[in-house]
Amino acid sequence: MNRKIYLDNAATTKVKKEVIEEMKSYFDEMYGNPSSGIYELGRRSKEAVENARKTVADFINADEKELYFTAGGSESDNWAIKGVAFANKDKGNHIITTKIEHHAVLHTCEYLEKFGFETTYLDVDEYGMIDLEQLKSSIKPETILISIMYANNEIGTIQPIEKIGEIAKEHNIIFHTDAVQALGAVRIDVKKQHIDLMSMSAHKLGGPKGIGGMYIRKGIKIDNLIHGGGQERGKRAGTEGVQNIVGFGKAVELASKNFEQYVSKLTETRNKLMEGIKNNIPDVVLNGHPTMRLPNNVNFSYQYVEGESILLLLDMDGIAASSGSACTSGSLDPSHVLLATGLDHGTAHGSIRFTISEETTDEDINFVIETMKNIIEKLRAISPLKKNM
């Protein structure tokens, strides 16, 4: 087995050659502290950070003064939610989010209960879509924040962000969206979509791990999550991870070039994989929305079998993927996202997510379909469930 097919790009991506190249000189040449602007080395670092900031801001149609660097998507989510909650608690204590958010959002909302905040978790339909009517009817006078993810990391479903933004705006409620999976995969326009706060993470689009961003619309009241030095216009303390910020900027620059082309190529490959699985393997259920989904996401449940065993067999054939089964995570329940779409536990346990990249070839796709066919057959042959059906 020599072939290696990495189809877990929603977990993290390989850092792009051009990104590594760009980062290089910030380790031992331009290693100054951006806050030490008085001397040349410091100024250079500062400049590099500001250039990256402009690149990322431009990509989402934000002003560069509204863009802040963080250590990743989780920090951004925590910051957005805790920061808005603590800064606006005189206005109200109610937050609206969904049942399918990333744990960085869900666990943060749970934590805030300790401080007297209350959260409404919106349902989703079988495709993972929220119901705008339910959103509207959940709004109370005490609602200070709506946090709804742009695109889901497991099933790829893309929410009607602009409509949500309009509703939030009408009611004068702050709107945060976790766009960690969306950045670089869909066109984002924070102005047009009325987004007030948005979480981003570089390692999901060919940038380095441990660096992310947050868009904060001018005028939004938000407390710091990390207090201290005056970095990031006093909003996020800590010496900037300059080399990582430069890498983030480069990754976004690359994504913004040939964006439409990239997306349509990805979509085409994704559809081939989706069709191939549907047509070659019986008893499968597509998770997520058939069309309103991320261009890189293919997620099926394979009935009568369990996800971890599939992943182990895939790994033996050099294929990396992920599963929503509880057995992979060591937790008791399978993915909260799959359960929220109405899947029963058994079916949810048999889910496999493939997330492709632009490096994924048709040959890869065919190999994956063939391999999956064999694996599912093999596992079903030893499954007690199959016969009972």
């Binding site: 060591g330 058994g346 016969k387």
Partner: protein
């Protein structure tokens, strides 16, 4: 994450399948928890002559059922009742802590099959007097 023995039993599970007219059949776990184990026993003169399994579950669950069936074939039913998941874990060269419960499932599946045998044959198996298989299915893990 898994030992070579686990991976071997996972890749090439021994004793897969069912036994027609088995003397004892036990099924534990449920799909909700992501694991179901079904064990078939062929018993002659209180000796387990053959054992087969079907499993819906993770790598550890499949390897545990494979190893468990290997270990109990040839044992007397009294020995089999004493059989514990520790023996499976040991024989597999260890399991990750979060996966030990999958081997417990194997122990329970065997007990459940022995119970079924005792019911069918009206035998009292020492150590199984207070056993009720339903108990095992209430909670995940």
């Amino acid at each position: 994450m898994y030992t070579e023995i686990v991976m071997d039993h996972f890749k090439n599970p021994r004793n897969v399948g069912s036994i027609e007219n088995a003397d004892g059949v036990g099924q534990v776990g449920n799909a909700k928890c992501g694991d179901i184990m079904k064990i078939y026993l062929k018993i002659n003169d209180d000796i387990i002559e053959d054992a087969k399994f079907e499993t819906f579950g993770c790598g550890s669950a499949i390897a545990s059922s494979s190893m468990a069936t290997e270990l109990i074939i040839g044992k007397s039913i009294n020995e089999a009742v004493e059989f514990s998941n520790k023996a499976v874990v040991e024989a597999l060269g260890g399991l990750p802590p979060v996966k030990v419960h999958c081997s417990v499932l194997a122990e329970q599946a065997i007990k459940s099959a022995l119970y079924d045998y005792a019911q069918k044959t009206n035998k009292v198996i020492k150590g199984l007097e207070n056993y009720t298989p339903e108990d095992e299915e209430v909670h995940c893990h």
